[in-house]
Each structure stands twice: as structure tokens, then as C-alpha cells.
Symmetry: C2
């Protein structure tokens, strides 16, 4: 029955697949899962924050009361009550969001994929921050755009640069709150300017906001979505405020875009698990997040402080770093001649890991940068790991 000596297939991959490369850094980072490594490399939330008991109760309730609905195919745009909940939560007095502007997705990464699918052609001009979220660059790159890197500073991307560089772009992708990878926040003035410039240029502005709720110093700044619901595409996620492993996020956008995304999602994975959406709705509908999020903020904020203090104590004065007001990441800039990928190789020998900054740049990488996450490491280990890194950097100066 089995074929004798078949010829091996000469794989003829698509143009986009041929450009996919196994990342050397990803291979290195596989070792960071080892328990003897102090890892600042993760983008993972701390499992200490997962509301396991609450979700277990919700699974029990949904399965026993509505099992046949929860386990059946569901609507492509998502579970109605949860879309309604998202819309209500994002509405402000002068900018109401309607449930039909919400589409549920299998994690924000899928939101990025679907947006790229319906907005990007080969060679389309796409504006991103310098540096930008690596996962967004990966999602967009599958549709082969031409990136325009918008320069920024400590206050986030510079709106005037969008006006100067962005003519004819298909979209601008921005992560305004505690950005991944830099931890920086876009100021209120710049938000208003950015919304105004994008509206004037007719360019959809993607506001990716996975960390917005994780604000440690003050109330979060207003969302750009509410400044112009007709021109801003907002992306939210349950990964950082509930759990990432269930893969659930949402995109809020004007109806013409939601309709296209719904059609694209049907072709892509039919719909996001109905059971998951019903369980999350059951978990959050009575205000659980308002009690839960402050406990996450407290944990991460203490660890953020510990890392900032350790950097101050142990890093050489030639290094600089961001002072995030929320989120999960600190961004370090070393003297130009130090390659953080080489530093990583040495650091792993000393049982410490982080992510080199190069891959976060859409165009010209700045290889003297690196990203540190403080959320999964307790303060004592943070100090230990930062001290080791500081000494290694000192020897490279």
C-alpha cells in the first residue's frame, strides 16, 4: 500500500514564506526557559496574576448551563454580550462605541494579521514607530509592505514626522501606552496632534493597547479611539489583565473595516472559540477586572521599581534607559559600539537573559539596544540579574 521510494518533494514556498527566517535570537531564547536562568527576556505576564479559581468557576457555570451553545460553532464577529461589554467599557460621554464596531479575535496577534490582510498589498507604505512591536512587524511582513519608520523620543513618536513621511501610507501602527519594547508613553498633546494629522491625511491610525490598564503612576491617558472613532482602529486584549493562554482580544473600528475583517476572519479561522468568549464574559461582567487589575499593577509596579533601582546601582553611567510609568518593559541604550546580541551570548553563560533590540526596528536596527522585562522575576533576582549584566557591560566598554 505504501508507495515505494517516492521522490522527495522540492518545496516551492510562496514568496512571503521564503522571506520567513528562523530567528537566531529565538533559538538562543529557547534556553531562557531553563529554571537556572534569570530571564528578563519574556513578554509573558506573571502567572501569579492569573485568576484561576474565578475562571474555573466560570467554565463550570457556562458548560453546565449553556454547554450546547458554548461548544457549537459561533458567529464570526464574536459573542454578542462580550462585544457589548467591550463597547460599553470603551465608550466615553462624547464618543459612544457601538457593539457592531467590535470584532472578537483569537488574541491581538490575530487582530494584526487580519488588519494586514485587508489593508496591506505588496509594496504598500506602512508607518511604524522606531522601534516598534516585533509581533506587529512579523504580522505585517507576511503581506510584504514597505515600512516607513517614524522617529520618536522619550515622549513617543513625533506626529510632525507622520505628516512629513506618511503621504499615501495605508496605515500608521502605534502603541501609545508603555510601548513594547521601549516602555515609553505617548503624551496627551502628541495623541491629539497624531489623531488630527492622520484624520487630515485620511490615514487609518491603529492604536494597539495591550498594556493600557497597567498604569503604575497615574490614571491612563485618554484613548485616541475616543478622540476620533471614525479614524482610529483600537486593539485590546485580555492577555495582560486576565490570561494570555486563552487567546482572546478585540478590534474596534468603523463598520466598513469591521465588515471586511469579518469576511477575512471567516476565511482565516471561521470564528474565535465561543466557549472562551462566554467564560471571559462570565468572569468580567460584574466588575471583576476593577478589583483584579490593581493587584497586577501593585505586583508589576514593585518589580519595575526594583529594576529601575538596580539599573541605577549597577549599570555603568554610559548606559541610559527608559523610566516606564506602566506596562512590562524597560529599554536600555548602550554605547554605540556594543552589540547587544553579543552581550546576550555572554549573559546566557552567566545565566541571565534579555531580548536584543535589533529585531524591533523595521528598517535600520540600532544594535546597541535591549529590552528588559521585569514582570516575571522577583525583586531579589532582578537585582542579581541586573548586577551581572552591569558587570558584563562594564567589561565591554
Amino acid at each position: 500500500m505504501k508507495l515505494e521510494n517516492p521522490t522527495a518533494i522540492q518545496w516551492n514556498f510562496s514568496q512571503r514564506a521564503q522571506k520567513l527566517q528562523s530567528s537566531a535570537i529565538r533559538e538562543i531564547l529557547k534556553v531562557t526557559m531553563r529554571p537556572d536562568i534569570i530571564s528578563f527576556a519574556g513578554g509573558l505576564p506573571s502567572p501569579a496574576t492569573f485568576p484561576i479559581a474565578e475562571m474555573q468557576a466560570a467554565f463550570d457555570k457556562v458548560l453546565s448551563q449553556q454547554g450546547k451553545i458554548a461548544l457549537q460553532y459561533g458567529p464570526t464577529d464574536g459573542y454578542g454580550p462580550l462585544r457589548e461589554w467591550v463597547a460599553n467599557r470603551l465608550s466615553t460621554a462624547d464618543a459612544k462605541i457601538d457593539a457592531n464596531q467590535v470584532i472578537m479575535v483569537s488574541g491581538s496577534q490575530q487582530g494584526l494579521d487580519l488588519l494586514a490582510k485587508v489593508l496591506i498589498d505588496e509594496g504598500s507604505k506602512v508607518m511604524v514607530e522606531t522601534p516598534s512591536y516585533l509581533g506587529a512587524l512579523q504580522a505585517f511582513s507576511m503581506y510584504e509592505p514597505e515600512y516607513v519608520s517614524i522617529p520618536g523620543d522619550e515622549g513617543g513618536l513625533i506626529p510632525e514626522q507622520v505628516a512629513e513621511l506618511g503621504q499615501g501610507a495605508r496605515l500608521l501602527y502605534a502603541l501609545p501606552n508603555f510601548q513594547n519594547p521601549t516602555g515609553r508613553t505617548l503624551s496627551l498633546e502628541r495623541r491629539e496632534a497624531l489623531v488630527e494629522i492622520c484624520a487630515r491625511m485620511g490615514i487609518p491610525l491603529i492604536e494597539d493597547d495591550p498594556y493600557g490598564a497597567l498604569s503604575y503612576r497615574a490614571e491612563p491617558l485618554p484613548k485616541m479611539l475616543n478622540m476620533n472613532p471614525n479614524g482610529v482602529i483600537y486593539m485590546g486584549s485580555f492577555s495582560k489583565v486576565l490570561t494570555p493562554g486563552i487567546r482572546l482580544g478585540y478590534v474596534v473600528a468603523p463598520r466598513p473595516l469591521i465588515e471586511k475583517m469579518e469576511q477575512a476572519k471567516q476565511a482565516t479561522d471561521l470564528h474565535t472559540a465561543q466557549l472562551t468568549q462566554m467564560v471571559v464574559y462570565e468572569t468580567v461582567k460584574d466588575g471583576f477586572l476593577d478589583k483584579h487589575i490593581p493587584t497586577i499593577r501593585k505586583l508589576y509596579s514593585d518589580q519595575c521599581d526594583a529594576m529601575l533601582a538596580a539599573l541605577q546601582a549597577y549599570f555603568p553611567s554610559q548606559a541610559t534607559w527608559t523610566k516606564p510609568e506602566g506596562g512590562m518593559f524597560i529599554w536600555v541604550t548602550l554605547p554605540k559600539h556594543i552589540d547587544s546580541a553579543k552581550l546576550l551570548a555572554q549573559a546566557i553563560e552567566h545565566h541571565v537573559a534579555f531580548v536584543p533590540g535589533g529585531p524591533f526596528y523595521a528598517n535600520t536596527p540600532e544594535t546597541n539596544t535591549l529590552r528588559l522585562s521585569f514582570v516575571t522575576v522577583p525583586p531579589a533576582k532582578i537585582r542579581e540579574g541586573v548586577e551581572i549584566l552591569g558587570k558584563l557591560i562594564a567589561t565591554m566598554l
Copy 2:
């Protein structure tokens, strides 16, 4: 704060998105959810077959024993023990499948999307059956191939036609067991011929097998995967043997393809929910499916018999239909001049629904065809609905 009178965005959708159209049939079929409609339109399994109690127990166990792992981000290629389980289940004496040839996906539809993403360029030649599964056509079409429709008959697609028409094709997509939409099965001789021809031509053969376990008359025929694991891409799903709402399937393929798919999946949705995979593993690992699947077979098989008997009793002799040996669907061919979309409009007025056949054709639609599903309707209602359809067809002759 809110922008005054912003200009509405003139959406500039991607070329692939511009081709997406809201399907008129899909709109019509929305009414088939009404409880007063006898619907043969669904592609849904019967919720009577969902093992709700077993899954509830599995969710409880996984969350209480391994909650922090289950709710965290997981590996892109899937949960190790479940990949191992899939590999073992698909291995035969002379064709072992290794766990590293398996990638878990968010339902088979995502498998189709990822395969298209890494194998299809704009204008690539892609072979499909006549007719073919609509969801596959939707997934592939996002990557803008040029379809080659391979003719078939009651015995499935005709292998010699592949040799004649398929030169230079990127892939052949086939659904050999109880095909959606026709219900037909590819014979053993044709399977062997097809595998041999595709291997000789160096063309990857996709064997999509969501219904293979739902065999009503005899043991399922051997899988093409096991005839040539180096040239066949096998797609399986938990949707029809467990539940569809959790969105879980798998693709089995040679390593070079799995590696590309893993990279593409990372860019597409990072990974499939770890919790779901652990729960399914917990549910199936001790042989549950071997007890459960026979109960599904019995239910569907009785309803299939009821529909075949009703067709015989009530349909005019000018109509013909397939006699499936498993799966969920019967395919009806009417006299050429009857447009099944028009028949549907009338049928809905008489509270009966089905899916017109036209959209299942990649190139030239045969509009005198239609698909009937027998799995969600009890026998008495099947007879009632088929009788109504039979009378309507008789008036159109």
C-alpha cells in the same frame, strides 16, 4: 478632546479584500437559524453528540492541577503530549508519524489559511475538486491563486485528470472521505493512483479529513498520508468527533513545511490556546473517542438513512443524489434548468432550508445542484422537509 468634524476615511482596502463579497446566500441562510425552519443548510455537528460532562471534568482537572501552565502563552507548534497523541493515532505499521510532523491549529480552517499562506502566490496554480469545500476555496482565495478544477464522478476526483491538468501546480486539495459538499468517497484504487501521480509530479497533496471517523457502512479506507508521508499533507479536526466550538485541529506534514507553517502561525496568532489543547488531551488520552465515536455514527447514520428514504419517496425521478457512506451531507443534482438558489427562496417561504451548490465550484458553477445536511434534524422532520422540497421541485419541472 474629541476631534471636531473629522473627514470620514476613504478606505483603501487591499486587492484581496476588495474581492471579498458579502454572500447573498449567507444573508439568506441567516434566517435558517429561526426555530420554525427545518434546516438542511447547516455544516454544524449535532450538539446532542457533545461530551459536555467529560469536557467539564477535564477543564476542572487541568485548571486545578496545571492552571498556571494552561493559562500562560504556549508553544507555537502546540501542546507536546497532544501532538504525540495525534502522531501515534495516525501511525501505521509501515508509516510511522513523528510528533514533530504535527502542528496544532485553531481549527482546520486555520490549517487551510496557513497552508495557503506558505504555498500560494498570486496567480499560483491550485488544483481543487469539482465541486470542492467552500471554506477551502475561501481560505485559498485570499492568496489569489488560479484554480484548476479537477473533474470527478461518484467515485471522487479522477487521478488521470490531475496528470493531465496539474503540471506546475502548487498543490492539490482533496477531501477523500464523505466529501463536503457531495458526500462522495474516493476509492482505494484512486487513492493509490493519486498519491503516485502527485509524487511523480512533485505536487503536495492535501488530504483534508474532518469526517473520516464518521463511517457508517464499513471501516474507513486507508489514509493517503500513510501511503506517502513525504508527499501528503494531512488535516484532521476535533470538530466532528468532539466539539467544533473549541476550534482545534491539526496538520501533519513533512518537516520543511511544518517549520514554515510554525513561523507563519507565530505571525498569525502566536499559538492555539494551551488550555484547550490540554483539556482535549485529557479528554481523549485514555481511549474516550473509541467509545464516543460509535454513538455519533449511530445517530447520523439513522438520519442519513431517513433522508435517503425520504428522497426516494418524495423527490421526482428527474433528480439524482449521492448515497454517502459516512459524513454529514447528501448532494442533489436537479435538471439543468432548475436554479437551486431560486428553489431556496421558495423553500424558505415554506420553512425549509438547504445550501445551493453554486458556491462550491471554483470555476464554472453548476447551479442545478444543492447540498443537504442530515445531522441536526430528527427523522420525522427530515421526511417533512424533504417532502416539501420534492413538491417544490416538481412544480419547477
